[in-house]
């Protein structure tokens, strides 16, 4: 797998469009999931996802270790998400509490569960949201998280555990809905 990635990244660096397409196809779910968990808005997450890949591919020659393409993409997405959130704070026109409810007045049980989780996530701070998004994307190990966040493994574990407990506290009272 790592050799395959190495080859793909090298081809990207040489300007091979098929390799770029492959990198996008492999990582788009991860980047979109991070974006959505961080921003809680579908359209903005799509924009962020696109921007991440465009920025990454423009600077792909700067990537020294082809094996670190995933953490590299994640860190670009994370920085862009922080920019979006800063911008949003400045404009303060979006009420996070209302996200998803305007477009879906009568959601089904599955969507309702997603909305409950997303709302609870939005009440956490940005760092906790990012950690949870990265951890629960099953391809990522704790080791990956240490690379992506730049923290030690023990710190990541503690932060992750705290973030998850905070989320649990935010979900107090939703037991029936989430377990149905």
């Amino acid at each position: 797998m790592s050799n395959e990635f190495k080859d793909l990244v090298k081809r990207c660096q040489d300007g091979d469009e098929n390799a770029v397409a492959s990198i996008i196809t492999i990582h788009k779910q991860l980047i979109f999931t991070i974006a959505y968990r961080m921003l809680g808005d579908h359209d903005q997450s799509l924009d962020l996802c696109q921007e991440t890949f465009i920025k990454a591919m423009r600077n792909i020659r700067k990537l020294k270790d082809p094996n670190s393409i995933k953490p590299w993409l994640c860190s670009i997405a994370r920085n862009l998400a922080y920019d979006y959130l800063r911008k949003r704070k400045r404009e303060s026109s979006i009420n996070i509490e209302d996200i998803g409810e305007v477009s879906m007045p009568d959601p089904g049980a599955g969507i309702r569960k997603k909305m409950i989780i997303q709302k609870a996530l939005q009440r956490l701070n940005e760092r906790d949201r990012l950690l949870l998004a990265l951890f629960y994307y099953k391809d990522n190990s704790i080791k990956d998280l240490t690379i992506m966040t730049g923290n030690k493994e023990s710190n990541v574990k503690v932060s992750l555990s705290r973030a998850r407990q905070k989320l649990r506290n935010e979900l107090e009272g939703y037991e029936n809905e989430l377990m149905s």
């Binding site: 779910q29 799509l46 423009r58």
Partner: protein, 153 residues
Amino acid sequence: MNSCPEKKDLIAYCMDMLDQKKRKLIEEQAAICQHCRQVIQFESAIDKELSTRMDPGNIDDIILRKLRIYKDLRIRSWWFYPLYVFLNTLAGCALLFGIWISVSNQLGDRSFSFPILGDNTGSYIGIGISIAVLLAIFGFAFRRNLARVIRVL
């Protein structure tokens, strides 16, 4: 384990972040305690929702299109701009040179005639050089299109 474990331990159990010994203790407790089972069930439901992957759909083409536009507009190597200016200047000079020779020949001025080659040879050489330089510069400017045409042929 005689009493229910702490909530944080149950969460850690669901996140698979406990060592084997602690895991076993929690499993034993959950087997006899309905409350613990319910907590684990709830935490698992949260984990399941958090693990859902989100699909952005077919954004590949949009990204590739945007990258293609960028590729066309991107800044070239450091030598490209000076070369571009130099070749344009050369093209202008070649054009003016050709016009000047033609006009001066028309007016009877034989400054560019070569005694050995004949009266008009100088002007022909001058115009030939101008056209060659212009063609070379056009070739350079449209090199990508030319390469594509050659590939098709």
